[in-house]
């Protein structure tokens, strides 16, 4: 999603509008700007793919892992977050994250998307309509908070959840997205995050860890069975996440060309590698390759390749994938139990750890040949140790800022409306108590 990618367009169909002074301009129709219909087609598709990642992808991935009594409540979290964030993004989110030129936060001119006219174009994506760019970014803004739900499954109040989503979007996601992608200081400093290793995954994972700690453990953990009710849903969800992730990563090229192609390849290979690594580790340790392990490994690979996908070649992608599968297996299955926090569906274990790992490995495996304009000196392997340091900085800053603000938001909610359901509601299930419905009625 680095704007510089756009300058790599090598084909003839479109004309690059270089260096627009203002971040967005609405053209009079007579002097209508030239956009590229192929780029636009791919970005329309990418936007809907990333939406599909959240609903039904993530919704099913998570819902398949919970017990029967909480399936609908888990689906409701992804669906509800999608709706709340869509409206907030229109009201203020896009304006704060992707307009204006301050280093810390965007501006207020795009509140309610007032200036978004038919022919507006953002300088951040000069070959497509701004409407499409705004929409593409919206889908990222939706899935990031929605991911947090994995950490707080089975025990959070729905009202508190929706308020949490809203506050977190504006106070955590928008600033960090602005820093890295919207023209802020981290992007300017040269940190590489192609599609959201820190902005999306480490960010959501960190928030999940904080939320898991502040909510406390689920009742019955360790003594009752928490076996997933229907892993078939998780397999559907993981598959749709995989398919949709090409919108995420290859879509972050913002154009339909060479960069998108390479990002797609890197994504596919890393994902498969990570799934195999997790499977192999589990097969060796627990003697059986679980289906949950295979799909979790795939998601770990998708997460870890996200920041790197526009900067590495096929071999780099494979190595990142293998590392992600093994490391996330350890963090989700072993570290969690050692430290005893209840990250229910492994939001931190997969997204936090995988996102940080991917961000750092981007600093190792980035290649000038793959992205001459955005990574002109490559990563550590090509001698550019500085890039690795920058990546570590990016990880550290994201973790600290996110953890602090997330804790503050949840603290306020806790002392006001409360964040956790009563013990009886938890025992009987969220579906019937919060939503008045059950599956398999």
């Amino acid at each position: 999603m680095r704007k510089r990618d756009a300058s790599l367009r090598l084909w003839g169909g479109g004309t690059t509008i270089a260096a627009l002074a203002a971040p967005a301009v609405t053209w009079a129709q007579s002097t209508a700007p030239k956009i590229d219909s192929g780029d636009t087609a791919w970005m329309l598709v990418s936007s809907l793919l990333v939406l599909m990642m959240t609903i039904p992808g993530l919704a099913l991935f998570y819902a398949g892992m919970v017990r029967r009594k909480n399936i609908l409540a888990t689906l409701a979290q992804s669906f509800g977050a999608t709706c709340v964030i869509t409206v907030l993004w229109m009201i203020a989110g896009y304006s704060l994250a992707f307009t204006g030129s301050g280093p810390w936060i965007g501006g207020f001119t795009y509140v309610l998307l007032k200036p978004l006219g038919l022919t507006s174009i953002s300088a951040l994506a000069p070959t497509i309509p701004e409407s499409v760019y705004m929409m593409f970014q919206m889908t990222f803004a939706i899935i990031t908070p929605a991911l947090i739900a994995g950490a707080l499954a089975d025990r959070m109040k729905f009202s508190a959840f929706l308020l949490f989503m809203a506050a977190w979007l504006l106070l955590v996601y928008c600033p960090i997205a602005h820093w890295v992608w919207g023209g802020g200081w981290l992007g300017a400093a040269g940190a590489l995050d192609y599609a959201g290793g820190t902005v999306v995954h480490l960010n959501a994972g960190t928030a999940g860890l904080v939320a898991a700690l502040m909510l406390g453990k689920r009742k019955g953990l360790g003594t009752e069975s928490f076996a997933p009710h229907n892993l078939a849903y998780s397999v559907i969800g993981a598959s749709l996440l995989w398919v949709g992730w090409f919108g995420f990563n290859a879509g972050s090229a913002l154009t339909s060309g060479f960069n998108a192609g390479m990002a797609m390849v890197a994504t596919q290979i890393a994902t498969a590698g990570a799934a195999l690594a997790w499977m192999a580790a589990e097969w060796a340790v627990a003697k059986k390759p679980s289906v949950l392990g295979m799909v979790s490994g795939a998601v770990a690979g998708l997460v870890a390749i996200t920041p790197a996908s526009g900067y590495v070649n096929a071999s780099g992608a494979l190595l990142i994938g293998l590392a992600a599968g093994a490391v996330c297996y350890l963090s989700a299955v072993h570290l969690k139990h050692r430290f005893g926090y209840d990250d229910a569906l492994d939001c931190w274990g997969v997204h936090g750890v995988g996102g940080a790992l991917g961000a750092i490995l981007t600093g190792v495996f980035a290649m000038k040949e793959i992205n001459p304009s955005a990574a002109p000196k490559g990563g550590w392997l090509e001698g550019n140790f500085h890039q690795l340091a920058l990546q570590v900085l990016d990880v550290g800053v994201t973790f600290v800022y996110c953890a602090a603000v997330t804790a503050a938001i949840l603290f306020v909610l806790k002392v006001t409306i409360g964040i956790r359901v009563s013990e009886d509601v938890e025992r009987e299930g969220l579906d019937i108590n919060l939503h008045g419905e059950v599956v398999h009625a």
């Binding site: 360790g222 009752e224 928490f226 076996a227 072993h334 139990h337």
Partner: protein, 112 residues
């Protein structure tokens, strides 16, 4: 009349039903149940958290039969359900005081 309750391995259901029919039993009612006995289930690991799956799937077959048919029915079930491996299940016999066929209102042995 007797109520015969047999708890058997699920894949034996069809064989048992046939055997019991052959023994002259006209009707049975079957329930999916979970059993716990000598066969103990297994330890499951879910995301690194070990827990004991204590129950193994079984089916419960209930048939009300006349006093005369009972021994024959019990023997038929036992013969059909046995595999010789742990977890084969149990048969229990209880006394039934009355039976009514809902459709006709018949009672007693005429009803079963």
């Amino acid at each position: 009349m007797k109520l015969i309750i047999a708890i058997v391995k699920p894949f034996k259901l069809d064989e048992v039903r046939e055997a019991i029919s052959a023994a002259g039993v006209e009707g049975v009612t079957v329930t999916e149940v979970m059993g716990y006995g000598r066969q103990k289930g297994q330890t499951e690991i879910y995301r690194g958290a070990e827990y004991q799956v204590n129950f193994v799937p079984k089916v419960k077959i209930e048939a009300v039969v006349t006093d005369e048919t009972a021994p024959r029915a019990v023997a038929a079930i036992q013969a059909a359900a046995v595999t010789g491996k742990i977890g084969d299940g149990k048969i229990f016999v209880l006394n039934v005081e009355d039976a009514i066929r809902i459709r006709t209102g018949e009672t007693g042995v005429a009803a079963i």
